[in-house]
């Protein structure tokens, strides 16, 4: 009864406030946000580790020079301003003066230079800082990044979890930064929250850092990140209010179920930066799949609508190219392959694979070793049988054996899920550049080689003019959509689920892989 009354009060209060002004959205300080990550991060230091498990705690502990809002516009963060030289070979960062690490030491340009060195050497995304030749430090609050060629990807590479500024006086002690003991304990960060406790497999507890350089931020006093690998356990915890915020939930049934729960809100905003895409990878180096017409026929035989509506239940957005649909560089205007069995059959005939005894040829279809891809794989097998392609599903023992098979091009087809990580130079090029064929999982596992694509990606990587750059990526997307080394299916239906109590949930392009210093708890 009392509960109901309270609900009624909040409802009326909210209505009243909505009617009058934006006063209701006035952030409030204090409170503990209980949230969740799905696996234990190897380390909390994003300078030496990629991945979303490190990203959430990592971006709270460490600040980066820039941050991005939800419209892909860079905003000042540790750098209060920045400029790019005329020739594009110098990027100057002006750091905020009052910023300190969690041990009280000032954050200086020395630390920026040191961080760039560490990331360049130890972070798995080599293309982020590859053109960086050196970092000059004319004074304590100015850092000049020198480049060997124009590198527009640097802007996104300086945000989110990708360029964490780490203290030189801690990590510069000669120990291997990748396995540094301070990566997990006594972490001295530069971000809005400091580490209280990291318990393997249980939780990470963060506390507001009072000396944070942005006035009045963060709003939260404390963040508790519980480590819960099981999605149904997370769903129950969200339903009964134990968790107030969960990001990266991508299970369609779970999203549908939670969207009906009162007091919970669901959004798919905040994943454009990470840019996860599901696709059907095809090995273009062997068998019938060498022929572009065969690959196009496969695309025509698959009913994407069935995958989007029946399997993913409308939770996912269609993807037509290798660039995430949320990205400003995305080109939705490419060659499309609506379901057309006649066209598929004609293309296969033309390619020299006539129907014999109800069959044209055999292929293997790998079952991706991460959860949630079995229905799509089963569906594609069945859809291909309709045009006479006999696909046998093969399941690997574990992730490493699948990854090895993909990395060495020892497969025909497989569903895969690959992330853009901001700029195409960071997460897209690797899939199409012919010099990256067979370099392990999530390299160019299709064995795809097209001189024009190589050239376009190369040019776009050094093109500082946004419009020209967009045009180059447009042509690239058109070629790939026409040659179909990959049949793009959908953006991974990642969703952020948050309770009514949470104000300003993270919805910038980096989602929870960016600081949540503006998130607050309502009464």
């Amino acid at each position: 009864m009392r509960h109901m009354f309270k609900q009624f009060l909040t409802a009326t209060a909210a209505a009243a406030l909505l009617a009058t002004s934006a006063m209701a959205d006035e952030p409030k300080r204090g409170g503990t946000l209980v949230t969740v990550i799905t696996s234990t991060p190897r380390v909390l230091n994003p300078a030496v580790q990629s991945g979303i498990a490190t990203g959430f705690p990592g971006a709270q502990l460490f600040a980066s020079p820039l941050r991005y809002d939800d419209s892909w516009t860079p905003q000042p963060y540790l750098a209060k301003s920045w400029e790019v030289s005329e020739d594009g070979l110098k990027v100057t960062l002006h750091l905020v003066e009052n910023a300190t690490f969690h041990d009280g030491q000032p954050i200086t340009s020395e630390d920026v230079a040191f961080s760039v060195d560490v990331i360049k050497e130890y972070h798995p995304f080599k293309s982020m800082f590859a053109p960086v030749t050196s970092v000059d430090t004319p004074d304590a609050h100015t850092a000049v990044i020198n480049l060997s060629k124009p590198h527009p990807a640097l802007m996104l590479a300086m945000s989110g979890q990708l360029m964490s500024i780490i203290p030189k006086h801690i990590y510069g002690d000669g120990q291997d930064p990748k396995n540094h003991p301070r990566n997990n304990v006594d972490v001295v960060g530069s971000g809005p929250f400091k580490l209280v406790e990291f318990k393997n497999g249980e939780h990470i507890i963060l506390e507001r850092y009072d000396g944070f350089f942005m006035e009045g931020r963060p709003y939260l006093d404390k963040i508790v990140m519980r480590i819960m690998p099981d999605s149904s356990a997370r769903a129950i915890a969200l339903e009964n209010g134990e968790l107030m915020l969960a990001a990266f939930e991508a299970e369609p049934t779970l999203i549908q179920r939670l969207s009906k729960v009162k007091g919970l809100n669901i959004t798919n905003k905040g994943y454009g930066g990470i840019g996860p895409i599901d696709w059907l990878a095809m090995n273009t180096t062997r068998g019938p799949l060498q022929d572009k017409r065969v690959r196009q026929a496969i695309a025509y035989a698959i009913d994407k609508n069935f995958i989007l509506k029946a399997i993913l239940r409308g939770t996912a957005v269609e993807a037509k190219t290798g660039i995430h649909p949320d990205s400003p560089l995305y080109d939705a205007d490419v060659n499309n392959y609506p379901l057309d069995l006649d066209k598929a059959a004609a293309l296969l005939d033309e390619a020299g694979f006539p129907m014999k005894d109800g069959k044209r040829f055999d292929l293997t279809l790998e079952l991706a070793p991460f959860p949630g891809y079995k229905p799509q794989t089963e569906y594609i097998k069945q859809a291909l049988s309709k045009v006479g392609i006999n696909a046998t599903i093969h399941s690997s023992a574990d992730f490493p054996s699948w990854a090895k098979m993909m990395g060495t091009l020892d497969f025909d087809m497989s569903l895969d899920s690959v992330y853009n990580w901001g700029d195409p130079v960071i997460g897209v090029n690797r899939t199409y550049m012919s010099d990256n064929i067979g370099k392990g999982v999530w390299s160019n596992t299709q064995g795809y080689a097209n001189a024009r694509v190589d050239e376009l990606l190369q040019m776009a990587g050094t093109e500082n003019d946004p419009e020209k750059r967009k045009a180059l990526y447009k042509e690239f997307q058109e070629i790939v959509a026409d040659e179909v080394p990959i049949y793009f299916l959908n953006a991974v239906p990642m969703h952020t689920i948050y309770s009514d109590k949470v104000g300003n949930p993270p919805m910038g392009i980096w989602g929870t892989s960016s600081p949540i210093d503006m998130t607050y708890l309502k009464d």
Partner: protein
Amino acid sequence: MSDAPALPEETVEKARPPIAEAWEMFRKNHAAVAALVVLILIVLAAIFGPALYGTDPFDMVWAPFSPPGADGFLLGTDYLGRDLTALILSGARVSLVIGLAAALVSVFIGVTVGALAGFYRGVVEEVLMRITEFFQVLPTLLFSMVIVALFGASLPMITFAIGVVSWTAVARITRGEFLRIRELEYVTASRASGASNLKLMFKVILPNALTPIIVQSALMVGGAILFEAGLSFLGLTDPNVVSWGQIIGSNRTYILESPFTVTIPGLAIFITVLAISLVGDGLNDALNPKLRQR
């Protein structure tokens, strides 16, 4: 059997054929008879069902999660809109074949090991029984998961993995029977008349030790079906064929909204395994000579 001492003529005339006598005993166990009827129906459905029903179990025929009975689908449709009736019928085939084959594998291993140990005794017995104990203390599900994960989830490998972890009971029973029978006079007589060890083991002793082994193997078929269901529930299964456990495993994500996709194959497993157990129980009544005298 030519070496066996001939029985007096009049006994042979008076005794009814052992099969008839066994059937007489079996019939008295009403539960077993009912279970046998059910089992025969299930086997018939598995053999002829898919052909008679006609629908390809992998074909997406209707909207996903249509409830049983709706739109002409007796058992409804699963998460891809496949006909659950067709899936259950095809699944019956795979589940029963794996159950039978795995039971055969374990009977083969178990009988061989038990016979050798019980017949030769001494060092051979010591070594073989230690090996048996080793397999007894292994966590069976984990061990078979490792085998399937290492060598690939094909039907023969799954069958082998189940068989290789569940032969120990048969081995111990066989050994026990061999230890008892090898000391009987007719065995000594055969040995004296020059029968080879192989002949003694498999022609003289084994036929007389078969009764408990048959009962145990019948029960093992049920166990193997459950085992296969467990493995496929965990995803360790050949994705190109359908079995009951696999239907449950792949539909379990949707259990809250469409529980029938999980409960129907679950019921199929339950009924089949129960029927096999009851039939095994009846067999025990029928074949166990001690009970027969009661």
